[in-house]
């Protein structure tokens, strides 16, 4: 007998695993589009640290000269990305899961302690519920980023019809830059996410597929009162 704890609702798991391939296709097709005008770089104080993207990266993913193809894929899969994200947010709002996910007033201070713990600087983790403070911030930010991608994306896609969205993004030129930065953000999120999942181990990973975690190999009810211990009179 084992003691298990229900962790991730079915809807959350579906949304997560649908989003993964869809976002991958969006990033890939986005790169096909970006290639046609690949002017962005990471430059600080006049020194360029990184150009998006070096030729080996383009060649590895077979990116060059596929703009039309990229647009065609991007403008189909954007619907799946948007609908899946919308359904996830709707479910989270209605089910009450949002209470476990939204950062609260302690989260920002606690997230710092979580970070110190994860970097092996601090031994203790602050007390946590299903998600720790850093997770709350990360999993809420990623949803806001998703919304940001939709808004900046629409602002580039139809800058005349949705002129107010383009205005909100600071104009067409900036909307494209913001759309790109958000995508880089997903890639960074992905890297950290994968490292954390590997560290957290199998029990945690399985819970994103089958929904539950095993908390104890032997259930608590197995604890027996030892014979020679007498209650204090």
């Amino acid at each position: 007998m084992k003691s298990i704890k229900e962790k991730h609702p079915l809807a959350t798991r579906w949304a997560h695993w649908i989003n993964f391939p869809v976002l991958t296709i969006m990033i890939w097709s986005g790169m096909l589009i970006y290639w046609a005008n690949d002017v962005y770089s990471f430059t600080l104080f006049g020194h360029t640290f990184f150009r998006f993207f070096p030729d080996p990266v383009y060649n590895f993913f077979d990116i060059p000269h596929r703009l039309a193809e990229g647009m065609a894929f991007h403008f189909l899969f954007m619907w799946f990305f948007a609908v899946n994200g919308f359904l996830y947010v709707l479910y989270t709002a209605i089910s009450g899961e949002w209470r476990l996910l939204l950062p609260n007033r302690h989260s920002f201070k606690e997230a710092w302690l979580v970070l110190l713990h994860d970097l092996h600087i601090r031994k203790m983790l602050p007390p946590q519920n299903k998600y720790n403070a850093a997770q709350r911030i990360a999993y809420t930010s990623i949803i806001i980023m998703g919304l940001g991608s939709l808004i900046t994306g629409l602002a580039i896609y139809k800058p005349v019809q949705f002129y107010w969205l383009t205005w909100l993004c600071g104009g067409y030129h900036w909307a494209r830059i913001e759309h790109f930065i958000l995508t880089i953000g997903y890639v960074l999120f992905f890297v950290i996410h994968i490292v954390q999942v590997i560290i957290a181990g199998w029990n945690n990973f399985r819970s994103v597929i089958s929904g539950f975690e095993i908390v104890r190999e032997k259930p608590t009810t197995d604890i027996k009162i030892i014979e020679d211990e007498k209650p204090i009179q």
Partner: protein
């Protein structure tokens, strides 16, 4: 106050058999979902490319998606949705040249040029630049947007397309659904939906930065259609035609969206 975060989710005691059963169902579902998703992707990625026609070069399901997007999003199109305009001082003096398809004929002389308008009844209208320039001029300074992703604020002057339609009594033609324009050598051509062509900011332009168009920008007359990507802004218009069927479009034959609307 009900707050599920304050109470720990209940623990359940399951036998190894029950756990295995749940894992089996979940993992089978997960693998099945992945196989299905992968299969769907292979199907889409390997789906046949359109045979040459008005649109070509795109995978058929993706072309359907592009066309459906247009049908849905054209509902948001309005003549009241204007492209943002800027003061002349913000216009870039060096207007970018991205393509010379259709204007690379070195033997071309704009003095011998005239605009041919193919009317609905089969007759032709032949117009000189002077006739077009004699009509009221409209100017626009806006952010020109290329399908490649760059944009540039540029300043154009010319005859508003809707004014052109009204002046030459082409109202019957304007009731048709599409306009087509081609360079004199027919090497470059665009097809436009009528609402976009009739948008108040669409110009038959003969000036850039206040000066007559140089050859590289489409001398003597070009299309400036701010509600479309640059690929639709045909340089050196030779003919204008009207139809209820979609008219040929250079880039739509290369896998790009036929409408390319903004």
């Amino acid at each position: 106050m009900k707050n599920p975060s304050s109470k720990k989710p209940a623990e359940k005691i399951l036998s190894q058999k029950q756990i295995n059963r749940r894992n089996f169902i979940a993992f089978t579902g997960f693998i099945g979902f992945n196989a299905l998703a992968f299969g769907a992707w292979r199907w889409l990625y390997k789906s046949p490319v359109e045979k040459s026609g008005i649109t070509a070069g795109a995978r058929k399901p993706l072309r359907r998606a592009l066309d459906q997007n247009e049908l849905l999003l054209r509902k948001t199109f309005s003549n009241d949705h204007l492209v943002k305009t800027y003061p002349k001082s913000m216009a870039d003096p060096n207007v970018r040249v991205n393509s010379e398809i259709g204007i690379d004929d070195t033997g071309f002389d704009s003095k011998n040029w005239s605009l041919i308008v193919n009317k609905k009844d089969g007759s032709k209208l032949q117009l000189s630049l002077q006739e077009i320039m004699a009509l009221p001029k409209t100017e626009i300074v806006y952010d020109f947007k290329c399908v490649e992703g760059w944009d540039q604020i540029s300043y154009w002057g010319g005859l508003r397309f809707s004014d052109f339609i009204a002046h030459y009594n082409l109202q019957e033609e304007a009731k048709l659904q599409y306009v087509g324009m081609a360079t004199p050598d027919k090497a470059y051509y665009v097809g436009l939906d009528m609402p976009s062509a009739m948008h108040p900011q669409t110009l038959l332009a003969y000036e850039v930065n206040g000066l007559p168009l140089p050859v590289k920008h489409g001398q003597p007359l070009r299309l400036i259609i701010p509600v479309k990507y640059g690929i639709k802004n045909l340089k050196r218009i030779g003919t204008i035609s009207f139809s209820d069927q979609r008219l040929p479009d250079y880039w739509a034959e290369q896998g790009y969206d036929y409408y390319s609307g903004l």
